[in-house]
Symmetry: D2
Subunit: 372 residues, 4 copies
């Protein structure tokens, strides 16, 4: 019953798409963490609608105001509240929606959940816009991971039926991941970029939408992170990642594909690489028994096509309980996959940070002592 997530590091997300503001409270941060506002702006910009054809025309400035928890540019250790005011809300675009449930959206399920009292404008608290505070939280977490040489990166593995080259799961490097973070359409095979943009443009022209799959890798995690049974790395990551709108599937390592292998093929054989234990393959995505084994953590996330499309759809009027037709108006991405990339990375950074703090303690991540 909660928009609060995390065990030792907690985030509490608030806001509705067309209300006064959205934001996040981060509780349990180590003190003394430098808030690198440039890096934060960069991450926020990655999530923001671009000027490209795949993206909504809505202008979201996403200016983050820090209300608490930062003093002289560093975290105080007490709760950090970051607020983003909603400036460019065209509520008039959403008139029908209060009555006509958009297929693929939470309009109907949310109506039942909240007895019709929830703010349905722009999706309200269900809006993809609520991922902006998550990206902020992830940027703060990312700074803590950076200090531990832990790096997260992603590529867009597929758009509709077009596929990029997947990660070399056992060999993916920090440099590769950092390079991907600088691309607007991050891909391993650079020729995919144009192909993806074409598919998206075609969908947009058809007033339709497309989805895709994002593959994410994390390098630099120590072995031994996580716990057996519950609170393991896969459970915690998936709980968070399924909290991102439009995510419909998650798989670690070879994921569903591993079910077509025999055990002798699926098992990742251990070997000594000088002083370090490694695995020859990485079909298990760097996780054994829910706990990291020191290899890259690799997972794929399925993002469904944007639900809001201008094509006419069948639906019902949830007030009168009658069949109806709906064309969703307003500004919507023909494909949200590129904008979902920084959200998934932020979510991943947050979960890993929470788990590291839980296992190694808050004090381990405090940055020395403040000088007088």
């Amino acid at each position: 019953m909660s928009s609060i997530f995390g065990k030792n590091l907690k985030l509490s997300i608030f806001g509705e798409s067309h209300g006064p503001a959205i934001g996040v409270v981060l509780d349990g941060l180590p003190s003394g963490i430098l808030l690198d506002s440039e890096k934060i702006s960069q991450e926020m910009a990655r999530r923001r609608p671009s000027k490209g054809p795949h993206s909504t025309k809505r202008q979201e400035s996403d200016l983050v105001e820090i209300l608490s928890g930062v003093h002289r540019g560093r975290t105080t250790g007490t709760p950090l509240c970051a607020m983003i005011k909603n400036r460019d809300a065209h509520s008039v675009d959403y008139g029908d929606i209060e009555r006509l449930a958009r297929p693929g959206h939470a309009d109907y399920s949310g109506f039942v959940r909240y007895k019709g009292f929830n703010d349905i404008r722009g999706g309200g608290h269900f809006s993809g816009r609520l991922t902006a505070p998550l990206v902020f939280a992830g940027a703060v977490a990312q700074h803590i991971l950076d200090e531990q040489d832990i790096t997260i990166g992603s590529h867009i593995d597929t758009i509709q039926d077009m596929k990029d080259i997947g990660f070399d799961k056992a060999g993916v490097t920090r440099e590769q991941l950092l390079a991907l973070r600088t691309m607007d359409i991050p891909v391993n095979d650079l020729s995919c970029r144009e192909a993806y943009l074409e598919i998206i443009e075609e969908a947009r022209m058809a007033t339709d939408s497309v989805g895709g799959i994002i593959e994410t890798a994390v390098v630099g995690l120590p072995p031994g992170l996580g716990s057996p049974i519950f609170n393991n790395v896969e459970a915690n990551l998936s709980a968070m990642l399924f909290s991102i709108p439009a995510v419909k599937g998650i798989e670690f390592g070879e994921g569903f594909g591993i079910t077509t292998l025999r055990g002798s093929q699926a098992n990742d054989a251990f070997y000594m690489d000088s002083e370090t234990i490694k695995t020859q393959t990485n079909n298990n995505g760097g996780i054994n028994g829910g706990i990291t084994n020191g290899m890259p953590v690799v997972f794929r996330v399925a993002i469904k096509p944007t639900s809001s499309i201008a094509l006419e759809q069948d639906t019902v009027d949830i007030r009168t309980m009658e069949n109806a037709k709906l064309k969703v108006r307003g500004r919507h991405d023909a494909c949200i996959v590129p904008r979902a990339v920084p959200v998934i990375e932020a979510a991943t950074a947050f979960v890993l940070c929470d788990m590291l703090i839980g296992q190694f303690g808050l004090e381990a991540f405090c940055e020395g002592s403040h000088e007088p």
Copy 2:
């Protein structure tokens, strides 16, 4: 850091494969729930190794002893502890394992996590045997769901590269699900049973193993269950399901497949079915914005091939840090997918019960008042 799961209804799992006992504490149960020991035995039997070719030769009697929380056959409302003694532990079979990390297992990651102090015999706390208490917990939860006419059932969708007919996601019925629960190898296309057993037998003859995919459906859930962002149905189910050993992927509705559709195909159009709002398709698996929409909740779970195989594998000796060869001895299933079915159903029952209690209150599920 925790083998405790749940928010209002909590389960705390304890035990190691070769220790004195395994078990579970259920905290937050409604009072007055009849403990149907026959149904519980049935569920426990479904998880137990069968006499078929696909299953371990280990005899697990799995006799459940109730230590607390039940009085005169009904739950008291105070914590219910159920214990299963380990009777048939052949520790001698596992001699090498304390030194040689089994590929695909938690031996190495667990060694690092616990600094070598964890009980590694038979996988210790990481053992698949720890799913027995979960099945018990699920059987208790299932009774509560039964009272609300909520039914869970599954079929084995694939074994290696062989595939059953999938659920009709919008049309799957209670009767179909109940029938599947009575099968040793639950399938929609009955001819798959033999095909599956053959694949498993082949793997067994080759001292190798195979995996597969389980598709699960839940019918009878009210619309409006769950919360936006965190603690939604997908997040909570996935957090629990990734706690089951060998699970490497989860997808809801069309899951990864939905990424190949356009929005106009992926969206499930609403319509009035007499007084009830339904969707024509169910690509979203009964969940919009993380909240149930009244359609069947449908998801698929990927189960990797059993890691413990008798074929020789490369590995390392985690005490001496040297390369080594390993043949895993002991009794192991050539395919754990059939035994995973009741575990996934139990896990699902538990999560849904927790969410229902959280949203509708403990009191709503108490069975009337005890007569003097």
Copy 3:
């Protein structure tokens, strides 16, 4: 490690005394709750420094801005964020404090906890000002309790060594409690008001401070609320009440006094009052085994004298680690007990609301269904 409280209804408090804003996120509220802004203002006003002699000269306007979770005057059910901007912060008053630890304050313990990175101006996150968002949260909770005919009220039982007449624990009424809520210095014996004000004025003249004891009663709670062992009413209330600055003791019913009675005197004998089970006395404060028994819940809370006094005190410079002398400047209450009354009532309202929602379910408190 957390400024988040609650199980089903959660509050997350953020802010520092001299930062941009303080506030609270309320997560898990029922939807459709009317936000009575007048009642909220009243409660906020009760906590605000008055013009009386006992109170700080600081002008706190405490204007609450709702950032989310309210639509058309009612709760949406999604997180409610309320922000109070800090307008009247005279940071210059607090110059020394960054070096000289104020005795009785968290300056030194907080310095160690946060390695010197916390915002120490005005007490930062430790400031009594952080009780303003708690009062707001309590006002919202109070509305839910009002609908259930549950009433909370308090009187100031002592100031320094002057004592009011205590509640008739078994007979205290709703009317009595409501009347107390309208008084600036709530007392049962009206003559105490002047006596209290005199003691406070004397302390103020001496640039010193005084404390006191608040006795609070709750009538209208159903019997059977709470759980045995942990999460009982006493445990949950005390965990919250010790979160209010300056609270150093809590006792339920006769509290410490009950230790001087024999069991035959201490036990509250049950009797039938028409159809209802009541107790003749209420030495246990309406709670048996941690669970309400239907009698008024009564407890007393000790509030220490304001730590910030202008009298010279011995202390240390926490940067140079040398002995020093300190006179705390700035505007401080000579006695915070009157202002603590609404804070304790708000905290109580929140805890009870959380427990009621947990036991009876969120749905039980939703206010019908929104009309089209």
Copy 4:
């Protein structure tokens, strides 16, 4: 709704007084902790009814069986389940209780809470016997604290109206606390022992009971432990301590007495004691702003007189809802204060251990690495 306590280190208590067994699951323990069975037995023995006049005649052998989480005498890091079988349950003594609510007990409130389904024999899950698993948990926690040179000890400050000499709050030493732990009736003024025993014997002769106050001190805690607002040391300790049956009040440092002081007297002035910051007095009980300041943590807990007395009392029959008379039969302590001492110390040890693990990390408390 929970018999689970703790954030990083969790305990889950189960069992009813007259059921098959009681016990505890400890989740989140560091691995490699030596389980000193002799020390554990000692602590269990301190709680067990003695042969003295103040104690129940019931023979509780309290033999702890470890079901999981210990391997080769050390914690594995995975959940530790300890079970105590109920051997000496004379259910026949409690016949009336199922109908006649014992004044001062949870019989009536528990009946409403659980709709009459709870096991009321011997108090069921509400029984003081459920403190035995807590003492076990505390003994394990105590071992972790010992390694950090943190020591907990208590004296019985009052029995009825007889008072011992209180702790020198600023000067109490480890040696003093360790000596108190060896006494059956721990007191600072040795002459109090006889006086206390006389008062108890008098009450016993009158088939009545008495209560008292326990003062506990903790030395060796580092400064900076705890968090502001919620999850502070006072809040966490009180939440746990109010979970012990018969506790009706808690105060830290001077507690209620501090309300009679002026601020200039109440504030504990800081000074440099060589390299260490100390306070001259310790009226705040070693806690400022909810966070330890390095001084001894000192608190007092009020224990009410045993509710179960053989004197005739008025009550009601909760099945027929009629007035009735009750003489509680069975074996009951005339005073439980001496037996409550190790329970309070165990509870304190658990809470501090949980907080230390949360702040400094699990890894900080793992005892090196296991040798091959």
